[in-house]
């Protein structure tokens, strides 16, 4: 390599680094700043927000919004309990059912394999739309204002089943065969051998499902009436507070006199943080599985 070529290499590397660090850094900042602004808003007193508006950084730190939200914690705790229970039950049930289906779909000796694969896949190509599904849930299954209306819809996804199938294909078939020679049944093989070997795939799909449950508000919007306060998930509670703060203040059963304006704008931001909190705290630990799972041939089932 001659000197001129080496110099050229240097110039292009420099240009790429400048552009790269700058552009990626800016986009990363843009991802972070809105969240910081919400945290800042939640830590500003209502008086300051009414005077100066939301800012990047609070003029003076003030935790009155959190104090207000936690003074009568019954509503928040109930929402937390409901959301955690839905996420745990739904994710475990969904994972188990999906893994069983995925396992059967990748068994080469299963006679109706391609038939079932098409049966599942077709539902991603054509659907009946919102209304028939809504009428089924409300008028035929009578799920309005029930736990089931929040538990059932996010439980299974065809895409997740297909991703798990792709994942299980990488498990050598010899494992299944030798266990069957030893007399183990299909279900035993699945529980004892396949499930433990599928842990990374299950972790990824479990994360996706759990995130869907935690962040779900759509099913509450459709099926939970405003009178069923016991069935307000965290996201739905936040959603209602953004639209109608008075109503939410009321169900938080807060009475008594406060000095200065009641928390309002800052309370909305505090509720947003309270509803997101666990995800942001868990996120750095689970991100690895998330990225890993996306890259195991996730796109094409």
């Amino acid at each position: 390599m001659n000197a001129a070529a080496r110099k050229k290499m240097h110039a292009d590397r420099l240009l790429l680094n400048v552009v790269g660090y700058l552009l990626v850094g800016l986009v990363a900042l843009a991802c972070l700043i809105p969240l910081i602004v919400v945290i800042s808003g939640s830590l500003t007193s209502e008086t300051h927000i009414l005077e100066d508006g939301f800012r990047f950084w609070p003029k003076a730190f003030d935790t009155s919004a959190y104090a207000f939200a936690l003074k009568e914690p019954a509503t928040l705790l109930r929402s937390y309990g409901l959301t955690i229970s839905l996420t745990a039950v739904g994710t475990l049930a969904g994972l188990f059912i999906s893994a069983m289906a995925a396992y059967v779909l990748q068994r080469q000796d299963f006679h109706w394999r391609s038939g079932f694969a098409f049966y599942f896949y077709f539902t991603t190509l054509f659907g009946g739309g919102l209304v028939p599904w809504y009428i089924l849930m409300v008028n035929y299954l009578h799920l309005k204002n029930t736990y089931g209306a929040l538990l059932l819809p996010p439980m299974l996804s065809v895409f997740y089943i297909l991703i798990l199938r792709t994942f299980m294909r990488s498990i050598p078939e010899a494992i299944t065969e030798s266990a069957k020679i030893d007399g183990a049944g299909d279900f035993t093989v699945f529980v004892r051998l396949i499930l433990p070997l599928s842990k990374p795939g299950l972790a990824t799909i479990g994360l996706f499902t759990a995130l869907n449950y935690w962040n779900d508000w759509f099913n509450s919007l459709l099926f939970i009436e405003s009178s069923s306060e016991k069935l307000y998930t965290l996201q739905y509670l936040l959603y209602r507070s953004l639209g109608n703060l008075e109503g939410v203040r009321r169900i938080m059963e807060v009475t008594g006199l406060n000095v200065g304006p009641l928390p309002g704008e800052n309370l909305k931001m505090a509720l947003a943080i309270i509803a997101t909190g666990p995800i942001v705290l868990l996120y750095p630990f689970v991100q690895r599985y998330f990225v890993q799972g996306l890259t195991i041939g996730a796109v094409k089932g």
């Binding site: 390599m1 070529a5 290499m9 292009d12 590397r13 790429l16 552009v19 790269g20 552009l23 990626v24 986009v27 990363a28 991802c31 809105p34 969240l35 602004v37 808003g41 508006g53 939301f54 800012r55 059912i97 069983m100 289906a101 396992y103 068994r107 109706w112 896949y121 659907g127 009946g128 739309g129 919102l130 209304v131 028939p132 599904w133 009428i135 089924l136 059932l152 819809p153 439980m155 299974l156 049944g185 299909d186 279900f187 935690w214 962040n215 779900d216 508000w217 996201q235 947003a272 997101t276 995800i279 942001v280 996120y283 750095p284 991100q287 998330f290 990225v291 890259t295 996730a298 796109v299």
Partner: protein, 305 residues
């Protein structure tokens, strides 16, 4: 030797039982509603139920198309999704390529963590963030404008702004997630071909153009194809949580999904909402078949089916 259906069922008994829960789930929640599309041709009456409600032919469709809303929401849905596909994928590819080339490992890790963060937030929280930024009295943007003596922008009553806001928010939420797929594709590129190009005197940009871009082409095709399959399906969370019931903005922000939702839940036009849903399902079905056909013709291995 041909086996009878009974003995075949018996031999596959456990496997059939294992796949049964998932099969039943999709039968109940996907296939039964598919049959429910007949609602689009009926005047639904809660007391009579789906099957006994009277037929009304194409009235529900006529109503939807006569108002001119059909054209507007279809065009909005298509326009927004087309913008999302282009903007998001270009950003994802650029970021993935840059991240792969940057030397600093901690920067790559930190950037990826930060970029993925919005994907984990619910649309309700994103709605709260938008409120914080765009609100007239206290919003961050208006606070900053006011502090330097400029006029406040009345964002929540000006439809024009939302075309850009929605595209920006969509990119903000999706880019980190989408870039993961492209980064995975870039990681799979054979390192030796880079070295060979370097020895041949290719500069960095030539290398990216001639090696990296062709290597991620299959990924681009599949991701864009999947997205095009849903080009008539609006992202309900994005549009509903950012715009919600703000009728002032509907002209610019209404998509098929928000319109169908309001017809069902607010206006109680069940038949019309069902007709809109059916119309959308057919549009989506035709689009995905067409897109898949086009890809199959150029490169069979990249097609979805």
């Amino acid at each position: 030797m041909k086996r009878g259906i009974i003995s075949r069922l018996a031999a596959n008994k456990t496997l059939l039982l294992m796949i049964a829960p998932a099969a039943a789930y999709f039968f109940l929640f996907s296939y039964i509603p598919m049959a429910g599309v007949i609602l689009a041709f009926k005047q639904f009456n809660y007391k009579l139920g789906i099957f006994d409600s009277p037929w009304v032919g194409f009235d529900n469709f006529r109503f939807f198309f006569m108002t001119g809303d059909a054209w507007r929401v279809t065009l909005n849905t298509f326009g927004y999704n087309a913008s999302f596909i282009i903007v998001n994928n270009v950003l994802e590819i650029v970021i993935a390529i840059l991240l792969a080339e940057l030397g600093s490992k901690w920067f790559r890790k930190l950037a990826q963590t930060t970029l993925l963060l919005p994907y984990f937030l619910s649309w309700v929280v994103v709605g709260a963030i938008a409120y914080n930024l765009f609100n007239y009295e206290h919003g961050l943007i208006n606070t900053m404008l006011a502090s330097v003596g400029l006029d406040r922008l009345d964002i929540y009553t000006t439809p024009e702004y939302w075309k850009y806001i929605l595209v920006a928010v969509s990119a903000w939420k999706a880019v980190g997630y989408g870039a993961v797929f492209y980064m995975a594709a870039i990681m799979n590129v054979d390192k030796e071909s880079y070295d060979a190009a370097e020895i041949d005197g290719a500069n960095l940009f030539q290398r990216i153009y001639h090696i990296t871009l062709p290597a991620i082409r299959p990924t681009v095709t599949i991701l864009v194809l999947l997205a095009i399959g849903g080009i008539f399906r609006g992202d309900f969370g994005l549009f509903y949580q950012l715009v919600g019931g703000n009728g002032l903005l509907y002209q610019a922000t209404d998509v098929i999904d928000t319109y169908a939702y309001r017809s069902l839940m607010i206006d109680n036009e069940i038949g019309m909402s069902a007709a809109i849903g059916f119309y959308q399902s057919v549009l989506c079905f035709v689009t995905i078949l067409a897109a898949n056909y086009l890809v199959r013709r150029t490169d069979k291995s990249n097609a979805l089916f």
